[in-house]
Symmetry: none
């Protein structure tokens, strides 16, 4: 399976940034740019894009993040803030260097607004959250700089001039077929149902489901594993019902 | 010996780029910016610098590269073009990833003009020439993106935490502590207990426990995740017992 990368900018406000992102995408051999409710792209965007106006021109515009990530197997969020006790939507923080081995299949990578990044709800939706290590005095990077770091890491830069590696053939863990995104979503809904049945504290439900989503993504579940896990959940439900 | 990094921009023409460079320097804990015959720095430079105007304001202006690199132990040049047969001034091309272990002491890193980079004479003067691997269709990066890649690599992002040798203050991703092997073992025993309680088919027990072990390993569970998962198992047990 070949991984395809889509760069998704959520509500970019400055057209120059969008142009800069297009440029670095082309530098790193990428061309799938998606824009969610973007600013207008005028002269400055094209000036900053320099020789990557094709990337800019073919950028797809969407009304929602959900539309922009449709068809993606893995959804990656990026954030400047490191995870704290209460910041469960940012857990676990993954470094750009570790991202490459974690992604599988078509991958959308979300970059947030210039002023406040991705929202809590948007981050919750992400399978993987990447945090770029930066100085704590001023960790907020320009969007195009953040895209630079992430794409640079996804390119196997340890080898010189290897752009081939950019097709990024996935590291095969085995012959088992990987679970589709919908399989994982159904597994998560099933988990939620069981958690409700065991009277899991409602105030912890949200963070627990986010944590499970992240664990399942990190584990790159196979179809077999999803079906086995759902078997366990089914048996748990039976046991609970049987005792009623 | 502590290494000190100086970023030297040679004849930058666009003040926005200079501001962007200042920003990413501060993001990566650097503040020594030298400008050789730069353009005027006005509003746009400061707008792009955002919260790094201190770096911009304290930038030193020089009339020549020689003046800008005075006192440096190592001079590094950057170039988009990889080394070709006749391009001896670019040989050997070093990747950003290899730069770190090659530099010693005070180091000036030169970035060239937006349109034609560093001159042949300037490159000749460099002790090390770094080439950022990029797509051969469009390898020329924006200056601030090139600075981003180089500083990102010098930060040693593979390890979380401080990179003392570059006098960067603690750079934290806020990565959660990983679960120890014993934590995972206890989680597995706990799973086995619950599987027994839900009357999971004994002939499937062994393969299911192996599968769970593999999932937990693939997911690289954190301590937080292990403790949350065990919380779910505990609540499942309570629910089952409560119904007896």
């Amino acid at each position: 399976m070949e991984n395809k990368i889509r760069i998704v900018l959520v509500e970019p406000r400055h057209e120059g940034n969008v142009g800069s992102v297009a440029r670095v995408m082309k530098n790193f051999g990428q061309n799938d740019l998606a824009l969610v409710r973007p600013c207008k792209l005028k002269d400055l965007a094209f000036a900053m894009a320099v020789h990557s106006s094709d990337v800019l021109q073919s950028a797809k515009v969407f009304e929602s993040v959900e539309d922009a990530i449709r068809g993606s197997h893995t959804v990656v969020g990026t954030t400047a803030k490191s995870s704290g006790e209460t910041e469960f939507v940012r857990k676990p923080a993954v470094t750009p260097g570790n991202l490459k081995k974690m992604i599988k299949g078509n991958t959308s990578i979300l970059f947030g607004r210039e002023d406040f990044g991705l929202s809590r709800e948007e981050l919750k939706r992400c399978d993987i959250v990447v945090t770029i290590p930066a100085d704590e005095d001023y960790p907020t990077m320009n969007i195009s700089h953040a895209v630079t770091v992430v794409l640079y890491e996804l390119m196997d830069t340890k080898k010189v001039g290897v752009n081939q590696s950019f097709s990024m053939r996935s590291i095969e863990v085995g012959v088992d077929p990987m679970a589709a995104r919908e399989d994982r979503e159904r597994l998560l809904s099933h988990c939620e149902r069981v958690l409700t049945q065991i009277q899991y504290p409602p105030h912890r439900m949200e963070r627990t489901l986010v944590m499970l989503r992240r664990i399942f993504a990190k584990a790159n579940l196979t179809k077999y594993e999803v079906s086995m896990l759902r078997g366990i959940l089914r048996k748990t439900e039976w046991k609970i019902r049987a005792k009623k």
